[in-house]
């Protein structure tokens, strides 16, 4: 550090540039930390507080459609109005609680399905040859090249009563009446598992790729059969990938709106649809905000506690 400052003292001519460079160098760590900090502040924390604020307001015929939190009256007195009615309403009405539960049930089941299907896929990709591996990875990422919405519409075409699958089955003479698939829970599962599968496979793949292949050989050498090796070596060592993949599927799937709306119709209640309806159809921003805040607490608080303990146990390692 001191070495770097000396030339700037000798050459005062362009010293301001050197000065800037020196300061940047000295505060480099601070700058590096500041970038994600500012990002999170503006794009996560600020919106969160805005939503939290709205959730504590009352519905009003105004634009935007809710009461202000703070009001300055003419005599210089500030009035702060905080209303918990929206939360009371959500807790009171079983519709919301049931929808939360249903969302968590559906997304948890879908996460499990993703894991059961994605784990062998990731394992096979890791084990595949040097030519096949990049092709497989490309195929996993390929769906992202088209719009998510378009892909869900495509599933509507496949699953509809007069859709591709039913037509094919009737054409083959396997069934007489179309099987009802669209607008059922089944269709929602298909949609969620299909769209979120890459988020399960990729972290698992990254995790498995790092595993030392000689660990499997060592287990075999010590007398373990393949099933034992899997349950005692591979599975415990891929736990970080399983957790990462499951969180990446479970969290967005719980709040999913497009899939239950398009593939589930009105038959599958998920919290994302309720939230959307409150916001756009009922224009009840305060209740919608309260629903969002509650969802956040249902999901994020248990995750944070889990992450905290996870972090603690990995420190010990």
């Amino acid at each position: 550090m001191t070495d770097a400052t000396q030339p700037s003292e000798k050459l005062p001519a362009s010293s301001w540039m050197r000065d800037l460079a020196r300061r940047a160098q000295e505060n480099w760590r601070l700058i590096v930390i500041a970038i994600p900090f500012v990002w999170l502040l503006f794009f996560f924390l600020a919106p969160f507080f805005i939503v939290a604020k709205i959730s504590l307001a009352e519905l009003a015929i105004a634009s935007p459609p809710f009461t202000r939190m703070m009001e300055w009256s003419n005599n210089g007195i500030v009035t702060i109005r905080i209303v918990f009615d929206n939360f009371a309403y959500i807790i009171d009405d079983p519709l919301y609680f049931d929808t939360y539960l249903n969302s968590i049930k559906i997304s948890a089941s879908a996460t499990l399905l993703c894991l059961l299907l994605g784990y062998p896929i990731a394992y096979a990709i890791v084990r595949s040859g040097p030519v096949a591996k990049p092709i497989f990875l490309f195929l996993i990422i390929l769906p992202f090249w088209t719009s998510f919405l378009l892909r869900v519409y495509a599933w509507m075409g496949l699953l509809a009563d007069q859709g591709t699958i039913n037509n094919l089955l009737i054409g083959l003479g396997l069934i007489d009446e179309p099987i009802r698939m669209l607008y059922t829970e089944f269709a929602v599962y298909v949609g969620i598992v299909y769209t979120y599968m890459p988020f399960m496979i990729l972290p698992l793949y990254a995790n498995m790729e790092r595993l030392d292949g000689s660990l499997n050989e060592a287990a075999a050498d010590l007398g373990a059969r393949q099933t034992t090796t899997f349950f005692r070596i591979t599975l415990p060592l891929t736990k970080p990938g399983i957790i990462a993949g499951s969180l990446l599927v479970f969290i967005p799937a719980t709040g999913e709106y497009v899939v239950p709306d398009l593939l589930g119709g009105g038959n599958v209640q998920m919290i994302g649809r309720v939230l959307f309806n409150e916001f756009s159809r009922n224009s009840d921003w305060p209740v919608a905000s309260a629903v969002a805040i509650m969802l956040l607490f249902f999901l994020v608080v248990p995750m944070m506690i889990f992450q905290y303990f996870q972090g603690k146990s990995s420190e010990v390692r």
């Binding site: 030392d212 000689s214 660990l215 050989e217 060592a218 287990a219 075999a220 050498d221 010590l222 007398g223 373990a224 059969r225 034992t228 005692r232 070596i233 415990p236 060592l237 390692r317």
Partner: protein
């Protein structure tokens, strides 16, 4: 052990009538067009510490992996204790392997790593505890049994890997570059430890290494490998003192090699004439007269003295010192012969160069000479 001891402590030196522990017959392995192991035969006896020495890609690791059951041979057979291993999977073989990367299970403590193999054999809990304790005592890691591999130093991990492989009391222990990951000082110390442990437990070791010093210190016998074949098999002394080919002479230690023609072949000696000088060899090897041959001379087996006199008679060459390398314990002299060939000579520094007024230095005329038993006869 006792029964074998009654015959011999070192059956590999006198194999007649002895039953080898490992028999390899006509073994071949290829990966596509590349032949990793080319039709080799080898017998290894109970209690041996056998080193497979060779450069990278010579097939030594492939051979070890075939013994462990990780690779399937394309031809030939492997017998361990008389049993054909062709259809025995890795998890049922009476061998254990110590991996170059150690392959310790990172999520298990030292204790659990070592117990893993015993659990697979269905050994009872209290017996596992005793055996793990005993083996940890042997490798001096009793205080570390609750640690995870990441919390150990390289040397400690190496000993855990050894303990894990030894605890199952295999008939054959396979070690893949067991010391390669250690730093030089620790490696030297561990070489002797490894040999001591092998002596204590009496298990037959096969060690793969690319380090000739390691092979020389460790092994009872060693095989020098090149391109999937054995170049020479023998005790370290045999390999160093009587290499039978230019490849082995050059690979193990260093050697000055002269090409020549045999002019005399009698019962007690042969005489080879080379471009540089005549070489008289009296260690009883016999070569057909007039055949082309190579003669090797180890740098430390050549005497060097300052002399203006020209060479007179066999086993003498005169030359000029072209370069001197001071290595501390020895010095290497590069001596240029009349023919232009450079001969390396190593001589111990018995006096400090500064206090040695008679020391040999650049451009000195020197006379090189050696005992008739010191030259080595090499095939191409």
């Amino acid at each position: 052990m006792a029964a074998i001891d009654a015959f011999s402590d070192t059956p590999w030196l006198d194999p007649a009538g002895q039953k080898p522990l490992v028999q390899i017959k006509g073994l071949t392995k290829s990966f596509g067009a590349f032949t990793a192991i080319d039709n080799i035969d080898l017998d290894i006896y109970q209690g041996e510490l056998f080193c497979l020495l060779g450069g990278s890609g010579c097939g030594k690791s492939t051979l070890l992996r075939m013994l462990a059951g990780f690779e399937t041979p394309n031809g030939g057979e492997i017998l361990i204790d008389g049993v054909d291993m062709a259809h025995v999977p890795a998890y049922e073989r009476p061998t254990n392997m110590m991996f170059q990367s150690y392959a310790l299970f990172p999520h298990m403590t030292v204790e659990k790593n070592i117990a893993f193999g015993l659990q697979q054999d269905g050994v009872g809990k209290s017996e596992i505890k005793d055996r793990v304790h005993d083996i940890l005592t042997l490798v001096e890691l009793q205080d570390y049994k609750k640690r995870k591999p990441q919390q150990l130093s390289g040397g400690q991990r190496q000993r855990v890997a050894l303990a894990r492989a030894l605890v199952k009391q295999p008939k054959l222990l396979l070690l893949d570059e067991p010391l390669a990951a250690l730093d030089k000082k620790l490696r030297k110390q561990t070489q002797f430890e490894l040999a001591n442990i092998q002596e204590q437990v009496g298990v037959t070791f096969i060690v793969v290494t690319h380090d000739q010093e390691e092979a020389m210190t460790l092994s009872t016998r060693m095989a020098v490998m090149d391109a999937g074949r054995f170049k020479q098999i023998g005790t370290p002394t045999e390999i160093y003192e009587f290499p039978d080919s230019r490849f082995v002479a050059d690979f193990i230690g260093s050697a000055n090699i002269f090409e020549g023609r045999v002019v005399e072949d009698s019962a007690d000696h042969i005489l080879v004439t080379t471009e540089a000088c005549d070489v008289f060899i009296d260690h009883g090897q016999s070569v057909k007269i007039d055949s082309r041959i190579w003669v090797g001379l180890r740098p430390e087996k050549i005497r060097i003295e300052k002399s203006e006199a020209a060479a007179s008679g066999p086993n003498q060459i005169s030359g000029i010192v072209d370069d001197v390398g001071y290595l501390g314990e020895t010095s290497i002299y590069k001596v240029k012969l009349e023919s232009g060939q450079i001969v390396d000579v190593a001589a111990p520094n018995q006096m400090r160069p500064s206090s040695n007024s008679d020391r040999i230095t650049w451009d000195d005329k020197v006379l090189l000479s050696w005992e008739p038993s010191n030259a080595m006869l090499l095939s191409s």
